[in-house]
Amino acid sequence: MPIYLYLDRATALHRLHPGVKILALFTIFWSIYWLDQPLALAPIGAILLLAAQYSGSWSNFYRLRWLLLLIMFFTAAVWVIFYRQGSPLLMLGPFPISRASLEFGFGRAFKLAELIAATILFLSTTRVEEFAYGLTWMGMPHRIGFAVTLAFRLAPLFIDSALDVVAAQKLRGHDFSRGGPIARMRGYAPVMVPVFMGALRKANNMAMALEARGFGHTNRPTSLVEYRFRPADWLGVLALSALGAGSFLAYLLGYGAINVGE
């Protein structure tokens, strides 16, 4: 079962320093945060689409299309109901729907879709090791970075093991889709116990293997791969700073806000 989103391509986005990629993710989140109106969010959406095209990440967007669409639909629906500002255009049962609530609801939907799109782009262009390296580079303690990397590496192994157990239980006649939510949830116990036990068996050996290789000897271990900060990275930092500042300026000047019209 393929679960990693990373796509091995030789693009400038892939080659960026891991710290810059994390900064890019943060800056895009920051830039989206200040804008509410769907139209004001469009330029960032366009930047993300161009980046997806350039980095060849469309396959990941296609893979997660239903998630994106569902999130957009339900976020829009929830906020159209909860917003309750502006003069009502129509009543949806007890809920007044106004132009402002529609604008706000769709704005939130685009906002969340763009936030997720930014993450998909990040994961499509960043290896797990790069992510951990970037976090450590930004000051996160080495041991936490190691635990994050190890968790990313172990998760697919445990997923495979869980799917094997599911297949074995199905062969024995266990039906995971039978019953209501509580029965279904309880039905997962026979899957989770063997996976849990398999994981526990690994724990002691893994700890010994790590200590035998000097884990914990120093808090500043060397890395097999070193990433250098190149001119392209500085250019990236400049472009991201401009994007973040531009978005905040738009917010300060009142662009991107919803006009309630009262």
Binding site: F74, A117, L163, Y188, M197
Partner: protein, 264 residues
């Protein structure tokens, strides 16, 4: 040992680091493929994986707390994350830490495996407190960022976590706990235990935790749903998405709850 010290010192032990990664990977491994019934499609679903942090918490203590936080992050990264995951990290840290920590205070002579009514009631109470604080943090954070109303996420998370903790976790715990104890993999076996905070301080912490998290939950729900408009807030804050109002009113009780955790 105080709660914060435990969360810090566990990183000094290699086996605790490994158990943290294993808890995280297990959580993510069940989180990713087994999304049973969507509660709100695209927002949240019935998650059997939510039983893992509770079970791991009773086994590995603070390692499970970090594991729960990292596991949620790993799970979110496979399905697309957002800035709300920053709060999800700390919410899951609390969800994975509180069962172990609260049980130390209220569990008394009972084992989490005991099948008496009193022990099960204490177990459910422990899980409820952990679930509500988790929901408070995510609901507060997401509403603060204006992504989703507190009233939507805050309640769904409590329901979701309690279902997994009450329906699935007891079975897992009964199957796994004795084996982990036999393999000397419990937190108490791995890390030297310093003196616990005084009993009075722990009960005071528990009282603060309960008052803080219930206050935050009630205020978050009422404000974000538009049923309470505190008179002391400026008018500009009393408009959807109520980010400012939630920030001003929900933050103090939430801080009180966190102070309570520190005293446990």
């Amino acid at each position: 040992m105080s709660a914060m010290k435990e969360l810090r010192t566990m990183w000094q032990d290699t086996r605790m680091v490994v158990l943290c990664a294993i808890s995280a990977a297990l959580y993510a491994a069940v989180l990713i493929p087994f999304k049973v019934v969507p509660l709100i499609p695209g927002v949240t679903e019935l998650r059997p994986a939510n039983a893992i942090p509770v079970v791991c918490s009773f086994l590995f203590g603070p390692a499970a707390a970090w594991g729960s936080a990292i596991g949620n992050l790993v799970g979110d990264f496979f399905g697309g994350a957002g800035p709300g995951d920053f709060f999800g990290f700390f919410a899951n840290l609390a969800y994975g830490f509180l069962p172990y920590k609260i049980w130390q205070t209220i569990g008394g002579a009972h084992s989490p495996l005991e099948r008496s009514a009193a022990a099960f009631a204490k177990y459910l109470f422990t899980c409820l407190l952990a679930s509500v604080l988790c929901a408070d943090i995510v609901g507060w954070g997401d509403n603060l960022l204006g992504l989703r109303p507190f009233a939507v996420l805050g309640n769904l998370i409590v329901l979701n976590n309690m279902l997994a903790a009450s329906v699935l976790a007891p079975f897992l715990l009964a199957a796994v706990y004795p084996r982990a104890r036999a393999g000397r993999l419990l937190y108490d076996d791995l890390m030297p235990q310093g003196p616990r905070p005084p009993r009075g301080a722990r009960w005071c912490g528990l009282a603060l935790l309960i008052a803080g998290e219930l206050g935050a939950w009630a205020a978050g729900n009422l404000i974000s749903a538009g049923y309470w408009a505190p008179a002391f807030l400026p008018r500009a804050m009393l408009r959807a998405p109520y980010s400012g109002a939630v920030g001003v009113v929900v933050t103090p009780p939430l801080a009180l709850a966190v102070l309570g955790v520190c005293l446990l």
